[in-house]
């Protein structure tokens, strides 16, 4: 196996680089989930529908995101009427 093949198959040669990519991805994933849940709420989706697509319970998605979204949109309760475009 030449140098190039090994790099491609095993990922980055430096384990640190590979592990740090995991950390970066985890942090980005958290932010992406938060953004897409917020986008869905703004588009008028219910918590139940969001939870179904994410494959988690309604309680879990609500507990994780409701407060943040409420604070970002004061006076407009998420997942109720009045949302949607």
């Amino acid at each position: 196996m030449n140098e190039k093949t090994r790099t491609r198959v095993g990922g980055p040669e430096d384990p640190r680089e590979g592990l740090e990519a995991v950390v970066a991805l985890r942090r980005t994933l958290e932010a992406l989930e938060a953004a897409q849940v917020e986008n869905a709420i703004v588009a008028g989706w219910s918590w139940a529908r969001i939870a179904e697509v994410l494959g988690v319970s309604k309680q879990a998605v609500h507990k994780k995101h409701a407060r943040r979204i409420r604070e970002r949109y004061p006076g407009r309760p998420p997942g109720r009427k009045g949302w949607g475009r």
């Binding site: 640190r16 943040r68 604070e71």
Partner: protein, 168 residues
């Protein structure tokens, strides 16, 4: 944890938590301790850093660039993700989520305490925190500084110049 910390170094650690949350760090890293020192913008360590041209803005940008580079290494474009998610995309850690010290940050503060004792000082200032940071050659902070063109030895020497005592 904060025994013998000066007001300044305590403030810098509090600022570090703020910086960490803002950058989406789910634990306080040693690079955040560096950002905290710059943010508190007082004391010997901040003076040494700014005299070498290291600013809070540059350090924040470098930290984001390191995240972006790490994602690129596995074929993900942070810009692409940002564009796809739209305006709602925000790396910031929500206010209701507490973040812990990372093992590296703890190691840094333990190192800072050792530096304080080694130098025969009675209180733990930002200069000891910075020496603790520089003691972790594997840490994010040292690599971040290297990317900004600052070698640990150069910064250490500058720190002792600012302190007005011989490097040791």
């Amino acid at each position: 944890m904060f025994t013998r910390f000066t007001d300044r170094s305590r403030t810098s650690v509090e600022a570090a938590f703020d910086e960490a949350r803002m950058l989406g760090h789910d634990s306080l890293g040693d690079e955040d301790l560096l950002l905290g020192i710059l943010r508190a913008d007082e004391g010997i360590a901040a003076e040494a850093l700014s005299s070498l041209g290291v600013t809070l803005e540059d350090a924040r940008e470098e930290s984001e660039e390191m995240l972006s580079d790490a994602l690129s290494s596995i074929g993900i474009s942070l810009e692409g993700v940002r564009t796809e998610a739209g305006e709602a995309f925000d790396m910031r850690i929500p206010d209701n989520r507490r973040i812990p010290y990372s093992p590296m940050a703890k190691k840094t503060l333990v190192g800072a305490r050792k530096e304080m004792r080694r130098l025969g000082d009675n209180s733990l200032g930002t200069e000891h925190v910075l020496l603790g940071i520089l003691g972790n050659a594997d840490g994010m902070a040292v690599r971040m500084l290297a990317r900004m063109g600052i070698a640990p030895e150069t910064l250490k020497e500058r720190l002792f110049e600012v302190c007005g005592r011989a490097a040791g």
